[in-house]
């Protein structure tokens, strides 16, 4: 199979990471690359690490430019995907790396994004129960948010196995690339190096309803979530520390068994050996997920910690993994579980 893929939004971090991965994907040929304010510029000036594409020039993001591809990836600002997608034919696989089609609840969408709800597409987190079936043959895919990817993978086995109460407390640290490439003073290197800081505290982060949606689906009942994201002084990576009160009768063994079963056949998720904990450095640049879980008997809580690369498994790698499934390719094609460390 030879797949011709276009990337709308090729100058940003998500688009750049996707191109990095597409270049290594044996079945993909890279077609049109588009940008808006950067249209007309050489990619080498915008993404100097993508040496083989240095002389490619960005085109404007229009339906004409994006036409004639098998797959179109949308790495656009939130709220802009629907207008582009509806002009692409129903036979084109459209993979939206923005938030537009992730949420099922229109009210949640409107509350957190402030615009009309565009709809819901098959959700590109294959490891969740039932997700692969929805993705197989799909022509539209909503790629999950980076935090929801890390958090949902760390916690869904506990909810799916009915081990914990429906109130999760999550504190996650993200590298700065999660905040995008738009220049804002608080994202300057001078500000972020040497500093940890929270944001969107108290349920205000847009990824909160997406996490609630995933965990509630796993639990088969509403799960409440306290989610605090923090900005960490590193370019990439998410470390999600998640916990919930254990239900009666839960033991360290039952917790470990549930996680071992949940991830037994997963190509990208590794439940670490007991005593070893995830580090974001170990998954740097890879599609791997490292998970560890513990039962704190004194506090009566199950603590699950997951590490991903926010740009790879958390965005572009997850997008490719779902594309592989939708196209009937081996799910791991063009993806790696090998991190770049140290």
């Amino acid at each position: 199979m030879r797949v011709r893929a276009a990337v709308a939004g090729a100058s940003g971090y998500a688009g750049g990471e996707l191109l990095r991965l597409l270049l290594a994907h044996p079945e993909v040929e890279i077609g049109a690359l588009t940008g808006n304010s950067n249209a007309g510029q050489r990619l080498g000036a915008l993404q100097p690490h993508l040496q083989p594409l240095a002389d490619r020039v960005l085109e404007p993001t229009t339906a004409e430019v994006l036409a004639g591809h098998d797959v179109v990836f949308l790495a656009l600002p939130h709220g802009q995907s629907a207008a582009v997608a509806e002009r692409l034919g129903p036979d084109v696989l459209v993979v939206d790396m923005g938030a537009d089609f992730r949420l099922k609840d229109a009210g949640d969408w409107e509350k957190f994004y402030g615009s009309p709800h565009a709809g819901t597409w098959p959700y590109g987190l294959p490891e969740l129960p039932g997700a692969r079936a929805a993705l197989a043959g799909a022509k539209r895919i909503a790629v999950p948010g980076c935090y929801p990817t890390a958090v949902s993978l760390a916690l869904f086995p506990a909810y799916a196995a009915d081990l914990v109460e429906p109130e999760a407390v999550i504190v996650a640290a993200s590298g700065t690339s999660g905040a995008g490439k738009a220049a804002k003073p608080h994202l300057l290197g001078s500000e972020v190096m040497g500093s940890m800081s929270p944001y969107g505290v108290g349920g205000g982060h847009r990824h909160t309803p997406e996490i609630v949606q995933n965990l509630s689906a796993a639990a088969g009942a509403p799960v409440g979530v306290s989610f605090t994201p923090t900005l960490a002084p590193m370019p990439r990576g998410i470390l999600a520390t998640c916990s919930a009160k254990a239900k009666e009768g839960v033991t360290a063994e039952s917790v470990r068994d549930a996680y071992a079963k949940a991830f037994a056949d997963e190509p990208f998720v590794r439940l670490l050996p007991e005593g070893q904990w995830p580090a974001t450095a170990s998954v740097y640049g890879s599609n791997a997920v490292q998970i560890q879980v513990a039962y704190d008997e004194t506090a009566g809580r199950v603590i699950a910690i997951g590490a991903i690369d926010n740009l790879t498994k958390g965005t572009a790698g997850g997008a490719l993994q779902s594309m592989n499934i939708a196209l009937g390719l081996d799910e791991a094609t063009g993806l790696t579980t090998i991190g770049v460390a140290p």
Copy 2:
């Protein structure tokens, strides 16, 4: 008043930070500086940032060397302070920056530190209810751990005002200096830059019982704690994200009022204006504590976040603040709330 101070353990990070602050303290004259494996070396080779002390030579840590001072600071490995302290006279103010005399419960000590309990000294966290009275005139002071300092300050007002349930969930990120200066592979720059990782998960960290002790005292009843420390890619700073389930009737206003009252007269703690969140960079090198609190109505939790410099307010600055109280000096002498940023 002119105070002559000795520092045992002057080659490590805690000792170095203490010297940095002592050099700026108008009432202190720096006396003996001791080390063990580093005795005989110039301080300039070990602490090149302490330019005025570059030509001082470390002496061995013995009672003879430490005799004849008004104050002796102990920055020794855990378990070594008692033997040194008992050879110093009862009129000398001994400030222990190690853990030896922090815990009241001998069983906790033995479980977490694996040696016989040495006793309990007045606890050097002046902001806690009743702490200043115990410190005034004291001749022995136990300086709190860095995590307990950040966490206790962030959460005690919620417990003292009976706003939250007695089960706290804490995830804290610390700079690497909190792990000390002993060279271990996982603390190499190559390993920590670009990486977030947890450790001591599931209640295993030694600071857990100290946090429990402080919060329980504030609540007047046992408080359970789920504490997950993480290592962040920065040299200094702790960001503690703490939460607990709100009790019935709690409102955003009642939460804010409780915190405003708790810190109204505190010289070092600043409850930030609503909407502004702490960042470790803002307190870098200072004794300041920045706190923010929110009530997440959807999740039903109070979230309190505190930022400190682990070496300053979290160790050496806290030690000096308590020394000032013990000696009857103005509590803020030689200390600053001004961080070094960016």
Copy 3:
């Protein structure tokens, strides 16, 4: 003496650092604080590390606001100082932290800054030969650039003692705060963390003529300079690696002697013991300069390396040091040689 000082440009990095130091200066009272686009904002929102000034509100940068102070510090974009300064009376001490009055050669100014030359003020690098005399009693001071500070201090003794040929090669690494607080994509944390990159290569950096001016003055003859600045992944600090071909007869001893003499009485410069090399971490947040020099017999070159904090000795600390001299205060008042490390 009680000195009332205004700061124009209080929201940027230079202004913020100056305020940090002024707060600790025993003879200074902080008067008006101004900004342009930030006028009307609380300083606590812009400089959250300056806790004692958190509730101060920025005023617009006008002659009226700046009137009535003993000292006015200008931390404005290049080219804006002259217009402000000429509206301040001749009895006011005006300290310009911009470039406007540094260069003696109008042609150099116009070539590198592209606007008419405003003039030349006494140059605020007290350690250079003759500088203190020019600063004593001055009412106008041009604060040197951060790179010229580091480079000139590292190299002038070699030129003053006629040890090296008049062609210097300089490669310097700077922390990102040297590039200021304006948000530009290449200064994002995501871009700078993990990356070293050069800029202004081939003589294009605006600090080149200032370095030439200083070294030529020390040599008493024109000195050519090859200067390559690089951006390093750290918030602060400059490490300047400078070398020049040794003249005939030069020995390791004659080099060391020249440097030892040059800095013998300097309160802020420390020539390190042989074998110890400067590190920017050692001078973090301080006005200290650490210098080491070596004679590479095989290559026939003298190599001098200097480390400073670009915001302190390189900008705001240097400004205060010169202010002290101009006002007849002890030169070291309110300044420290103690770095914040680790």
Copy 4:
């Protein structure tokens, strides 16, 4: 072709990087992995980023364990390769990532490494004139040092085209992984984050004679080198800033032409478009080399700057590239020019 490869020294940074690349090499099967102090340990505990090899156990580094492979990579401490290599048969391709067989001059070896010279093997920097011919079919390969790789590629075209005087001045910044994985206090994260510092100043660094050897070969005459390495606060990457006095008649065009010709057919080296400068982030994790060159007419010097990943092109990638040539494979097999950024 199917090549079975063993790696001696699989627990260090060079060995880990090599395994990361070997896992992606389509013609290589990974055989024995050995360590010394770490023999018996799971690789997953030592190199947690190499997820596919997590359950492999390190064996001791003996001739028996290393026997029966087509290729043996030696990532051993300097001075240990000869003893291992001589017990491996002449038909085995031995690729030494240590320094033992790089230098041609026995006196240089003894002066800088303090042990008897083991000999000289074909030098694994294919881009140097004549190097590929020496590598084709070779059974022994000496992989260059990381600094010599960056510096030689940046400067050899200027010497090969006789553009510059035979005195080069080089200042290079390296990420901390270049210093290895052995835990030393000055390499702690607390020490290196936020700090730039030089070392081996004045010609003392072991890579100096190797640089001299390469540049002199390119020039066809002895080239003197002043080399100052600096440690930068990043895990990976080398930025080498190199310059030399231009010979009479040199122009910007002649310089650019020489570099364009030198790298025209090189698969891994990219001479950047004019005005764009290398950044280590752009080559992170890749075998790419980014080069820019300028002629500073005022200073009369040619300035060439190169960026590599010290562990990839600077060590393990360079080793694989040379292995490919020796085995008659396409030189780029298993290697990429795509960096991981941001």
